[in-house]
Amino acid sequence: MAEPSVWVIIPAYNEGQVLAETLRELQEYNASYHLVVVDDGSTDNTSGIAREFAVHLLVHPMNLGQGAALATGIEYALRQKADIVVTFDADGQMRPADINPLVEAVVKDGLDVALGSRFLKSADSKMPTLKKIILRLGTIFTRLTTGLNITDTHNGLRAFKAETFAKLHITQNGMAHASEILTAIARCKLTYRELPVTIRYTEYSKRKGQGASNAINILFELFSRGGK
């Protein structure tokens, strides 16, 4: 089999400040990756910065949420005959070096999905304590609702076999899509593995990212859409 094409989906909402650095790091790490930036209706120069790089740029006409942006990028990658789809954050929290082990796990070991986890190795990422507690509660919630034994339920770094993702049908537009993906993994009985990744908690990402309090919103989103 020829070298599988890896498509990295980067949802970006008002990330003009850090997007350039994130894209530069990704391109330096592996120039063969196809980068897809999904500008989720930003009001800053996110699109302008993306245009300075050799990336595929998709622009939502309005802000729809990270889940929707990911789904758009993935749909696009599938239509471009992607083999592997990777989800990656624009805010500079993730390390490009963590991508390849995930891709390798999917390609070499034939898994449907490889998930990044912040908790598999000794935490060298200086995660805020409250956030740690909330994420632990998230793993318990996930175990109860899906039966999956996963150490990190809301990690945005994952690699999927493209054909698998096409079957998942992600409908959560907001942040609850991370739980939704796990539910789908359980429902479709996908083969998965968690691999350690390092998340850098920069001042920017702490300010920009989800606060621990957003867990309440995620629960609400899940329940209000649950009946559909």
Binding site: R51, A54, H56, L57, L58, A68, N173, R225
Partner: protein, 112 residues
Amino acid sequence: MITIKLILIALLLVILRAFLVQKSLLLIKRAVAVLMFAGLLILVLFPDISTRAANIMGIGRGADLLFYLAHLFFLLVAVTLWRRTITLNDAVTRLARELAIRNAERPNEKAD
């Protein structure tokens, strides 16, 4: 007493008309609307009826009965609107997605 009745009747008719002028309205919905407004009209003209109906159902006052019914009605409206919002949101998302994908800007250097 007469003035408030006139105001209420006028308002009822205005709202009923606003509802019925919608062209694409199912006949069944028109019928239900007319019946509901007829009922309200009767209640405005003869308020004692609600008290009698309430007593039959073991509720003290007619106003209480109307209060409960109004509550149920608005809950129904809220749930209906909420469901419709979800459907609309999904449609908008799909539309935005298709638009974004069709207008995708591809990298210049890479020919893939």
